[in-house]
Symmetry: C2
Subunit: 634 residues, 2 copies
């Protein structure tokens, strides 16, 4: 087959590809990551490119006539047939700076600043120890390793003091090079200590660790100084697995294809390595000085990260291969830090309550508290945990992708250009929107959608079932082939030039999503025979949570109608818990314990959840007594 060069602008990077290669693939080969949440099926319409020169065969896909006329194509639907020059618009790029790190400025309630150690002892997973050994003689002729171990025992209670074969091979020369003075990096896991790294003499270099949140959509890495426990730097980006599908189900399906599992594993490892490379380069730290990593992710992400087939997670009765994940050496996975570093994965509770949730419970303190706490992490799945120091029960409900912009005509993730706040004048029905980054609107993100739904309800444009009312006098409410829609922003004011609308179908999707979350909460409460009023505290986590307007969320019946002061935001608790485990061995042990201790409520058993779901598919709910303040206002 003949090869053609494709040149990407403004990057000015060229690659050689064969006839028939998609521009999406070519861009990836060129190191340019494009948005592509449908996995290259042409349905998400995000991988927009402009072909400036050259021969390509253009397919169809979800792209507006307007963009087409302007010379834009979908990268995934366009195949190379000769040399080509392509321009990549900024908005088609997966931009790592748009990823929510853990401490972004927040919405209406201030994010609680978690005390870094959440009450646990500061006792990092790794530390450096400087030793001065006695020189061996003919009469004091213990082996190099025994000599080292004897001295190290003064610093650790661990009975087993291990060392890898690779480090053992380096030991004799390092001891002699440092004239029997040596700096040892010691790690302690489950009562077993290991010599991870050896340096001759007294080393002045620090030991670092990584906290990694492996999300289905985004990956965030914190680089942590293990001596001080402080975060040196942090960085996040999109999970490169996104090109194989948007949600865990499509990833699981892809993992079942030939080499699919390996590709997905390499994609997420590549994502992490990319972030680590940048963090290390920027902070002038060597890879060999990073000695441990703690990862937290949902159960499917943990399986894919370790190359464990996730296939039965999506098949009834939804069984993961394992809920506790063995520690693995960095060299075994290809994580670009010290090859001997242990990569630890937070344990999961079940197929749909993963290590990210355990990590959240670890750091949010509910398992140490007398207060009855409800912890909710809303994404594509809504995962929630209810309980206190004595018991913990968890469940997951498929909220659908609506809150992340999926399945909504103009839905998008919470990134620059996303509408996040909406105001509607109750008389004129005129709309004011605020976007992330204060730029021209491109779409609407989860918090904007909730806000919009609440406002549409409040001003009476929709009723409690989500249907548009008849007698609303505004050009914004209009009839189309597919039903009614409401114009939020007119085309003249949007980035793409088209009207940004919310359709009746969008609203149905949103109601189903919020209904699922609330039904999950109700199911947990009913299972333990409690009710909303008994909840002392509600902790909201997740990227979405940070932008959430609690009042709106209660008005539409997404969250329980309790005293607003009971609500707390904690941002990305997954990475916070991972970081905590990194700097506290007792916290790490507690995470393992939590994985075992938490009960899992399978919502597909019996009819409870479905009954609750049906009741919750109203605004705010069929049972208005559950939402006294919502009822009062409307």
């Amino acid at each position: 087959m003949s090869k053609h060069s494709v040149l990407f602008f403004p990057d000015n990077v060229a690659v050689q590809v064969e006839t028939g290669t998609s521009l999406l693939r070519a861009a990836s080969l060129a190191g340019i990551e494009l948005k592509s949440t449908c996995g290259g099926k042409g349905t998400c319409g995000r991988c927009v490119l402009k072909v400036k020169e050259g021969k390509v065969s253009v397919g169809g896909g979800n792209i507006s006539a307007k963009l087409k006329t302007a010379g834009y194509v979908l990268a995934c639907q366009t195949r190379v047939e000769g040399h080509a020059v392509v321009e990549v618009p900024r908005d088609s790029r997966l931009d790592e700076h748009q990823v929510l790190l853990d401490n972004k400025p927040v919405g209406l309630l201030a994010e609680k600043q978690v005390e870094e150690l959440a009450g646990y002892e500061f006792q990092p997973l790794c530390r450096k120890i400087y030793l001065e050994l006695d020189k061996p003689t003919l009469t004091e002729n213990a082996s190099d390793l025994s000599r080292l171990q004897a001295e190290l025992r003064k610093y650790t209670d661990c009975r087993d003091l291990e060392i890898s074969l690779d480090n053992l091979r380096k030991l004799p020369d390092i001891l002699r090079e440092g004239d029997w003075k040596v700096t040892v990096t010691l790690t302690s896991l489950n009562g077993c200590a290991e010599v991870l790294h050896l340096e001759p003499g007294r080393s002045t270099k620090k030991s670092y660790g990584l906290a990694v949140d492996i999300g289905t959509t985004t990956v965030v890495v914190n680089l942590v100084d293990l001596e001080t426990g402080q975060i040196v730097d942090k960085r996040g980006t999109y999970n490169r697995q996104s090109r194989y599908g948007d949600d865990v189900i499509s990833r699981i399906i892809y993992a079942g294809e030939e080499n699919g599992l390996e590709e997905l594993q390499q994609a997420v490892i590549g994502t992490i390595n990319h972030l680590v490379d940048k963090l290390l380069a920027k902070n002038e730290i060597k890879a060999e000085d990073v000695h441990v990593a703690v990862t937290a992710g949902n159960t499917t992400m943990a399986h894919l990260f370790l190359g464990i087939p996730p296939k039965y997670i999506r098949l009834e009765p939804y069984i993961p291969v394992t809920s506790s994940f063995p520690p693995v050496k960095a060299k075994e996975l290809g994580i670009a830090i010290n090859p001997e570093a242990w990569i630890l994965s937070f344990p999961a509770v079940a197929s749909y309550v993963g290590g990210d949730i355990v990590s959240g419970v670890l750091v949010n303190g509910m398992a140490e508290s007398d207060e009855l706490t409800l912890f909710i992490d809303i994404g594509t799945n809504g995962e929630m945990v209810l309980g206190n120091r004595d018991w913990l029960i968890s469940c997951a409900c498929s909220a659908g992708p609506a809150f992340e912009g999926g399945g909504i005509t103009y839905g998008m993730r919470a990134m620059t250009g996303a509408i996040e706040r909406v105001e509607i004048d109750p008389r004129s029905y005129e709309v004011q929107v605020a976007t992330i980054g204060n730029v021209k609107p491109m779409g609407i993100c989860g918090s904007g959608l909730i806000d919009c739904l609440a406002k549409l309800l409040r001003v009476g444009i929709i009723d409690r079932t989500g249907q548009f009312q008849k007698d609303i006098n505004t050009p914004r409410l209009r009839e189309t082939e597919d039903g009614k829609e409401f114009v939020l922003v007119w085309g003249k004011d949007t980035e793409c030039g088209k009207d940004i609308v919310l359709t009746e179908g969008d609203i149905k999707n949103l109601i189903r999503s919020k209904g699922a979350v609330f039904a999950g909460i109700q199911s947990l409460l009913k299972t333990v025979q409690m009710d909303v009023a008994q909840i002392d505290k509600i902790i909201i986590a997740g990227g979405f949570g940070n932008y959430l307007n609690i009042e709106d969320a209660i008005q539409i019946g997404l969250l329980p109608d309790v005293d607003r002061s009971k609500y707390e935001f904690m941002g990305n608790t997954s990475i916070k818990g991972a970081k905590l485990a990194l700097i506290s061995q007792p916290a790490y042990r507690q995470a393992e314990e939590l994985g075992r201790k938490m009960t899992y409520l399978e919502l597909s058993v019996g009819t409870m959840f479905m009954d609750e779901f049906v009741s919750a598919c109203f605004l705010p709910h069929t049972d208005l007594s559950l939402f006294p303040s919502a009822t009062k206002q409307s």
Copy 2:
């Protein structure tokens, strides 16, 4: 460079090599292992080949004029310059059948048939367990691994139940393939159990283990059925490291050269894999059904086997990198059995008392006995252990290669054609010899040398200092340029056509060797302030031991002059101990304990050993009171 083909006969194997390649290397590439104890330096004279056709450049080396005239060359000194056809004589081959396995018929004393378990409980390192698991449901939805572990806990007390990532990856499909019936191969090491192998349903296949004796010269493998504890088959061959030098010191030096360590490691692993391949093929066993291996070897061999640099073993104060060796997975070393199998190495005591000796002590029972026992393994090094259940002290003395045929004009290993028994008529001085295999004599092995020395002394041809006497009237005693020599076999009766002689130099070497061993014994006794008379039992191990004539050995002062009934032969105790550990977890733990418990006496400290050595360099000894029966006879 141009390539030439070299065809080897009678193997009928051809290889392509570049101009200048030695025939030794070419043979090795062709899979033909030649004897080469000097490492290809041309000094051992063992790699003899006949070039039948073709162009080669012939160098010199230690080869007789007679052989040269007959068209023979040294393979290591001959370089390929064109296509060639080469014949490989049988005696130049490293013939695995010549290697001493553990139960060969013995010399004068019957080898003690060790009770296989030496009193330890039968509890193999691996066993197969058939499990029937409950099928998961929506309400009984533990992970696959938890389900398996819960059932396995009924079969093991180990708190930790581990599984490798690779096995974890296979787990879900195997469980479902067998409809939740599964056969698990479980291994237990140091209180930690691991799922090593998984088979769907009820497996009828057995679990096997390997006992491996890694000797400097030879490697022996026993294939053991772990269900019955019986040896299925055994096989031995020369250690392929031999081509890099004969003794541990030359190996250590070679390991310091570029890639030397890797080459030596690969050589011994190749040797083991070769034996394992043959054992498995012959017994129709699959590699994946071999689940564990226990190796025993001297400290240098253990270092080389694991790729740990042995360099400081030969430099004062003689410090090994480690005396306990971490378990390593077969896949990590490239041992061709189940990739998850653990390869265990017996711990060493010190640089010159290795795991082979610990293995011997384990199986010979001295550490469980009230009797004061002396255990001696004589090879190039004479290693010995003295003690009982309360204490054990060990040492190693450099006996030199004389007992293995090294440094002796017509010395050779104990293989076909070696003179092993010598009788000398006290009047006519006529000699009768017996060879191994009853073929024409080619040389003389260790037991033959000891016998010869004893007989020369007894009939008065040499005196107590080892010098030939003047007034001996026989053509066999003759003067040469290099001094006197005694003809054992006339050329007409030998394989090579030359007279087989023993020179004055040979005798000096032998006396030094036996003197070193006896001085070691005396040093141990003096250190614990005991004497020979207090010894209850003397156990002789090692390839050499099996052919040894105890009476002769006492006559020349190699072994203590105690009641002959106190002597026992145990053959290759190294492999016997390895096999014991394989079938008994308590024995394996005891081996670890022995490694720590045994004291090491460094003979180069102080003058005790040298004083003893000087006194022992007489026949039998300067202190005749130590050898009452020898004195009586002569």
